[in-house]
C-alpha cells in the first residue's frame, strides 16, 4: 500500500489549483499572480502614481466592456462600440469646444453635449438592434458595417483633425479620478444590479441561452435584444465622455485601438461568446487583467508592437484556458 502516499500528496497539491480553476475569481487570481510576478522587475509598477494611471485607464474601458457584456449575454456581438466612441467624441466636441462650438461659452455646454453624446450612442445601438432583430441580419456583419460607416463619418466630419479647447467642467469628468471612477463604478453597478436582480437581466440570459424557448415562454425576444444593443451603445457613449474628457480632445480616431481590449477583456472574464453566460464582475476582472498587462508592458519599455504581440498571445492563452476549464469541469 506504499503507493498510496504519493497519490494523496498529489491530490493535496492539485486541490488548490483545481479550486482556483473552478472559481469564478480565477481571473482575479491571475491578476494578482501577474502583478506579483512582474512587480520586482518593473520599476514603478507598484507606485501610487502608477495606480492612479492604471485606474484612470481602467474606468472607461470597464464601461465599454460592460456594454459589450450585455450584448454577448444575449447572444450577439457589437463591433461598432469603438466607432461609437469616436463619433460621439467628435460630435460632443463640436457642440462644446471654445473655438467654434455651437454652444461656445454657454453654461449649458457641458450637460447638453454629454446628453447629446449619450443620445447618439443609444441611437447607434437602436439601429444595430433593429437590424439584428427586425431585419434578421447577423450581428457580426451589422455591427462591422456600422463600425466602418461611423468611423468614416467621424473622420469626414472633422477632416481628420482633432478638436481641442473643451470646457473645464467637461474635462474634469475624465481627468479627475474622483469623478471618473465613481461614474464608471455607478454604471457598472447599475448593470450588475439589472443583470442579477431584474426581470430584464433574466430575460437577457434566457434569450441568450435559447431564444426559441424564451419566445414560447412569452419573453419579448426582439425587444430584449434591442434593449441590449441600446444599452451597449449608451455605455460606449458614456465611455466616450470619460475618454474625451481625459484626453481633453474630441478625436475621430478615439478608441480605434481598443476593440480587441473590449472583447478580449469580456471573454477573458468568462462571458460566453455563445450567449447566456456572463457577469459584470467577470468583466471587471478581465478589464483589470488587460489593463494591468498593458501597464506593466509599457513600464518595461516594450514597443507598441511587442505589447500587441504579447497581449494577443495572452488573450489566446486565456481563451484556451477557458475552453480547457469548461471541458475539465464538465468531465
Amino acid at each position: 500500500m506504499n503507493h498510496q502516499a504519493p497519490y494523496i500528496n498529489r491530490r493535496s497539491l492539485a486541490q488548490p489549483v483545481l479550486t482556483a480553476l473552478r472559481s469564478e475569481y480565477l481571473v482575479l487570481f491571475l491578476c494578482l499572480l501577474l502583478f506579483s510576478a512582474l512587480a520586482p522587475f518593473t520599476e514603478g509598477l507598484a507606485s501610487g502614481n502608477n495606480f492612479k494611471n492604471l485606474l484612470g485607464n481602467l474606468a472607461p474601458l470597464l464601461v465599454v466592456a460592460v456594454g459589450q457584456t450585455l450584448v454577448l449575454i444575449v447572444g450577439g456581438i457589437d463591433l461598432s462600440v469603438t466607432s461609437t466612441i469616436a463619433l460621439t467624441s467628435v460630435v460632443g466636441a463640436f457642440a462644446m469646444n471654445g473655438d467654434d462650438g455651437w454652444l461656445k461659452g454657454s453654461p449649458a455646454a457641458t450637460p447638453v453635449a454629454v446628453m447629446t453624446m449619450l443620445g447618439l450612442g443609444s441611437l447607434v445601438g437602436l439601429g444595430n438592434g433593429v437590424a439584428v432583430t427586425k431585419l434578421k441580419m447577423p450581428a457580426f456583419i451589422v455591427t462591422l458595417t456600422t463600425m466602418m460607416f461611423l468611423s468614416g463619418l467621424a473622420i469626414w466630419m472633422t477632416k481628420s483633425k482633432p478638436l481641442y479647447n473643451l470646457p473645464s467642467s467637461f474635462t474634469a469628468l475624465g481627468s479627475q479620478l474622483w469623478l471618473a471612477l465613481p461614474i464608471a463604478a455607478a454604471l457598472a453597478g447599475l448593470a450588475h444590479l439589472l443583470l442579477t436582480r431584474s426581470l430584464f437581466g433574466r430575460w437577457l440570459r434566457a434569450v441568450g441561452f435559447n431564444s426559441r424557448t424564451a419566445n414560447v415562454s412569452g419573453v419579448p425576444v426582439d425587444a430584449v435584444i434591442i434593449a441590449a444593443y441600446v444599452a451597449c451603445g449608451l455605455l460606449a457613449a458614456a465611455a466616450s465622455v470619460l475618454y474625451t474628457a481625459r484626453l481633453e480632445t474630441g478625436s475621430p480616431v478615439l478608441g480605434q485601438r481598443i476593440l480587441l481590449d473590449v472583447i478580449g477583456a469580456t471573454v477573458i472574464g468568462g462571458t460566453s461568446l455563445f450567449g447566456g453566460k456572463g457577469k459584470v464582475l467577470w468583466t471587471l476582472f478581465g478589464v483589470l487583467f488587460l489593463s494591468l498587462l498593458d501597464n506593466a508592458l509599457n513600464l518595461l519599455g516594450l514597443s507598441h508592437f511587442t505589447i500587441m504581440m504579447v497581449k494577443g498571445g495572452v488573450i489566446l492563452l486565456a481563451a484556451l484556458l477557458d475552453t480547457a476549464r469548461t471541458r475539465w469541469l464538465a468531465a
Binding site: 440570459r205 434566457a206 435559447n210 424557448t213 424564451a214 414560447v216 415562454s217 412569452g218 419579448p220
Partner: protein, 502 residues
Amino acid sequence: MTPLLQFEAVEKSFFGVRVVKQVSFKVGQGRILGLVGENGAGKSTLMNLLGGNLQPDVGSMQFNGNIFAPKSPGNARDAGIGFVHQELNLFPNLSIAENLFLTDFPVNGPFIRRGVLQQRAAALLKQVGLDLPPVTPVEHLSTGERQLVEIAHALSFDARLIILDEPTTSLSTRESERLFSLMRQLRSDGRSIIYISHALGDILRLSDDVVVLRDGEVVGDFSAAGLDQSKLVSLMVGRELKQLFPTRKPASAGDGTNEPSSLMDVRGISQAGVARDISFTLHRGEVLGISGLMGAGRTELARILFGLDPHELGTIKVEGLELTGSPKRRIQERMAFLTESRREDGLCLEASIADNMALVTLPSHARTPLRLLDFTRMREALGKIREAVRLQSKLNDGQAVKTLSGGNQQKVVLAKWLLAEPRILILDEPTRGIDVGAKSEIYQLIHELADKGAGVLVISSELEELTGICDRILVMSAGKITGEFASAEFDRERILNAALPA
C-alpha cells in the same frame, strides 16, 4: 437461394429499455420487403443498426452470406446498402452530380474530372428516369426528384439493398406512381428493397413480403399475397393495455353541472400546406387528444393556436373572445404550451432548474422601480410547484437543467407552465423519451388540472396514451381532421384507419 439480408435475434437497448427485441427476419434476393409498425415500434432503430449508425447489443446480421457488422455508415455503403431517408440527406447548394459523387469524385490528382463526373451522373439519372441536366442544383428539385437522386446515389455504388423510409409522405400521386414503377424495375434488376411506410395499401400492392413490428418485436412475417389491410392494422396495434393510466372520473365542467361548457372554439383554421379548415371545441375540464401520423399537421396546429405561427383563415376564441397576437398575449390569456422538443424550445438547457421553472411567470414577480424581482416570493412559488410535480432535485444549488433525466426535465417544463395556472394547456408529445414512472405522474397531473376545470389538449403519437388519458380524441391526417371519437367509442383500429392517408 440464400437470402440477401438476414437479421438473427437482434436486440438493442437504450438506457435499459429494450427497443428492439429478438428480431429475426430475411430479405430475399430481388424482393421488396414491406416493413410496417406504429411510431416507436422500432423500425428506425432497426434501420440504424443496418446502416451502421448503431450497433446491436445481442444478435447478428448477415449480408450476402457473410456476417455483417457495420461500424459506420461508410461500412454499410461499402457493403452495398443504400438509404433513401425520410428527411433527405442531400446538399441543396450542390449540383445533382456533385451530390451523387460526394464521397467518390472522379479525380485527376487534386482536380475533379468534370467531364467524367457529368457523364457518370447522366448515366445514373437515366437509370432512375430523371430527365434533368446533372449540373442542376438540388435546391431546384422537388421532393420526388430529390428521392430519385438519392436512389441514383445508391446505384452509383451499385447497392444490392435499398432502404426507402416513408418515401411517399410528401409526394404527389403522379410522383408516387413514378417511384413505384422504378422500385419494380430495380427489383427486376435483381436488387432488393426494404420499403417502410404507413401507407398500408401501397405496402400490400408493391411488396413481396411484409414484416410487422410492434414494441420492438416481430409480430408478423408474411408473404404479401393473401394479406389484407385490416389484418395488418390489428397486428400493429394489438398490444395489451398496461395499468399505466390513472382512472378518469367523467369529465365535469367544474361547476357542478355535467353540461360540457365550451372553453376554446376553433373555427375554420387554414394555412397553406399545414392546416385545412380545422374546427373543434375544447370544453372546460376536458382532456382532448389529437392523434395522427408524423407530418399530419398536429404540431403545426398547436403552434398556430399558441400564436407562434400565422394562419390565413379562421378564428380562435376563448370564452367568446378572439385570440390574437404573440405567445406573450396567449400567456396573459392563461394559455400554456408544452412543446414537442424540450431541447429546442422547451428549456434553456444550460440554465438552472429554478431559472427555467420561473421563466414564464417572471413578470408577476417584478417590482418597480427597475422591475427588480421579488426573490422571496419567487422562491416560495417555485418550492410549491416543485412539490406539486414531485421533482426530487433541489432548486437552490443552481444545478443546470441539462443534467436531469428526460422525465425530470419534462417535469421542469410542466412546472414552468403550471406556475402560470393555465386554463388551456396544450401538450405536444408530453411523454416522449421519458420513463414509465414519470409518464404515469405526468398523466396524473394532466387529470388534476382538468378536474380543476382547465381544458387540456394532448398531442401524441402513442395511441395507447391517448386512449388511456383522454375524454375525446380527434384524428388528423394531411392537415385535416379526419375523425372524432368519444371515450365510449375508442377503437384503436378505427382511429388508426382514420389517421392513415386516404
